[in-house]
Symmetry: C2
DNA sequence: CTGAAAGCGCTTACAG
DNA sequence: CTGAAAGCGCTTACAG
């Protein structure tokens, strides 16, 4: 690796420059008391002059844990997760923590690899949007060894970790009721998978609303990777077609919207639509989408605070039973059948 | 920090379990030769049984540089950057590197802090979408101390670093020409800032096209943070209003689109539009946006490869003059005035 | 093919 | 208030 001379300045150099022991320099760096004012100034001057930067690896090696948080999200291309990640990073930075961010692509082998990387890098704590039951064992073991963990957006049962969720059931319930209020009786619930409890809760909210109204729930669920668009179109061409669609997440909403556009099926005249998960451009679409807005940034913020709190209280080995559930909000636009000017709420 | 017992298993434990020296275990881990097959098996079995994970901090401390790449982007909420970041992470992971991802929020103080964090964490190399001239000094110093650096999307002069850019000038030239071909003579170039060379190149492409056609360039540039929407609307209400708009990036495009919608100004009838930077929902908008597509993922991929190459060749202390420029593509939709069915190209 | 020793840069008790 | 010594977990020469 050639003769890298990077970060040549060590604590010993600073100590030498001041004619003191390394201990004294260390104390100054770490803001410890028991150092005379004059000495503090002398050392700080030398640190500045030599442009000394403590070597984090060495600190970590002693302290056993670095001031770094690990964050695992399924993907960075989903704006929901990127907003969330963004918030995590901000709060962490404010509190003096760095964030190592990983996208696992919803693959459990990638997720597993990342978790093991985190362990070997002495991460202080983990924030995760869990993607796979398969990583559960690893997460459990991490918890057992005292690593604080907070799950966000969705959770996996049987893991003693902090949880920050969103009111999935309530949001879906309200969204579905809104469609029912518009007079719809055959409402199709469309989504990509039921493997996460967040999605499960959304389905429950939909079902509850339908049953409360004496209506028959109807589902169109496909495996991840299978295009929903064509299936939805087919469903709309059946004998007694649904007159409205409730979509379980933004990826599905976009897919459905694309398919409807391709087939020139008009919204809300031929089929009304409400989606779970709002996004920036929802109000600029051909038909502005009525959607359940989730507080993505707030989710990240709260989760980060929870994790840092448990780090500070040193409760790594204790139970991490904290649980926060954040409210969702139904943003009315036109895809549900509301009047164009009823309420134009751009995201942001 | 209570009695954390994390990662108790060390190389010494494994060595003891096998009745060998730590050196032998180290050799097995690092895939070194000079170890007997039988020994390799014995050690690997012990590693698996004890669930041993090498401590990265200790390795780093010895090797002076960790197998971690630092990535700084202005923001994660801009899909262009998040796609880019995503690609970086994938390529890095394939090559056995982790990525530390930071969003600097286009603030040079944040950027500076992140750069200094990277140094103290023995990052192997840096990938950066530079946000501020102010961090230039720091970047230069990092280079001087042998840290490989690759700038992507935009570059700052005077820094000896690898560069991966996009054909900004060519893309803008083609986009502007397309509007001219539609018969427009008064085309307004709208954007948020000219502080980056990428934006400068786009403006140059626009100007070149205008001048070549014997037309007068017209600019509407506002400082970051100042809303462009109202200004554009005002410009459209002037005496000889522009009949077309060329927007310099996606943030601006969305802002303009919102303003036009709010004012019920029809596209492309009242004003045509082409934007630099394509995005997923561009084809589902009320008026599908004609846009210059940049290869975001490819940008990240190439930059990462360039960085890792220079890491491998140990050329940290040498010149890093590699430079790659990737092509852009004009995606025709309807906002420019093309026929609805001319070419419907959804992103992805 | 295998191992004992030294040291990476820092901090943690322990003395003065 | 200040410092010398030991050690965190690993790898790098150097021997055998």
């Amino acid at each position: 690796m050639s003769m890298r001379s990077r970060s040549v300045v060590t604590i010993a150099d600073v100590a030498r420059a001041c004619g003191v022991g390394t201990m004294t320099v260390s104390r100054v760096i770490n803001g410890k008391k028991h150092v005379s004012e004059a000495m503090v100034r002398r050392v700080e001057e030398a640190i500045a002059r030599l442009n000394y930067q403590p070597n984090e690896a060495a600190r970590t090696l002693k302290g056993r844990t670095s001031r770094t948080l690990g964050l695992i999200v399924p993907s960075l291309s989903d704006p929901f997760f990127s907003q969330c990640a963004h918030a995590v990073q901000q709060v962490a930075a404010e509190q003096g923590y760095m964030t190592m961010l990983f996208a696992c692509e919803a693959s459990h082998s990638v997720e597993a690899e990342e978790l093991s990387q985190m362990r070997s890098r002495n991460i202080a704590g983990i924030l995760i949007v869990p993607s796979s039951e398969n990583s559960m064992e690893q997460l459990k073991e991490l918890r057992r060894s005292g690593m604080p963990v907070v799950m966000m957006d969705r959770t996996i049962a049987g893991i003693d970790a902090g949880e920050v969720m969103v009111e999935n059931l309530e949001g879906s319930f309200r969204a579905t009721n809104h469609l029912i209020d518009h007079g719809h009786r055959r409402i199709l619930c469309v989504g990509y998978d039921r493997e996460y409890n967040s999605i499960g809760q959304r389905m429950d909210g939909y079902r509850k609303a339908m049953q409360t109204a004496g209506l028959q729930p109807q589902y169109l669920l496909v495996k991840r990777g299978v295009p929903v668009g064509p299936r939805v179109v087919a469903a709309l061409r059946a004998v007694k077609p649904p007159t409205a669609i409730f979509s379980l997440n933004n990826v599905t909403s976009v897919a459905v919207l694309s398919a409807l556009k391709r087939e020139k099926i008009r919204i809300p005249e031929q089929v009304a639509m409400v989606g779970f998960d709002d996004f920036e451009l929802a109000s600029l679409l051909a038909v502005p989408l009525t959607a359940v807005r989730q507080p993505a940034a707030e989710l990240g913020r709260q989760a980060t605070r929870m994790l840092i709190d448990s780090l500070r209280s040193g409760s790594g080995n204790q139970q991490m039973s904290a649980r926060i559930v954040l409210p969702t909000e139904l943003i009315l636009r036109q895809s549900c059948g509301c009047e164009p000017l009823a309420q134009i709420t751009p995201l942001d």
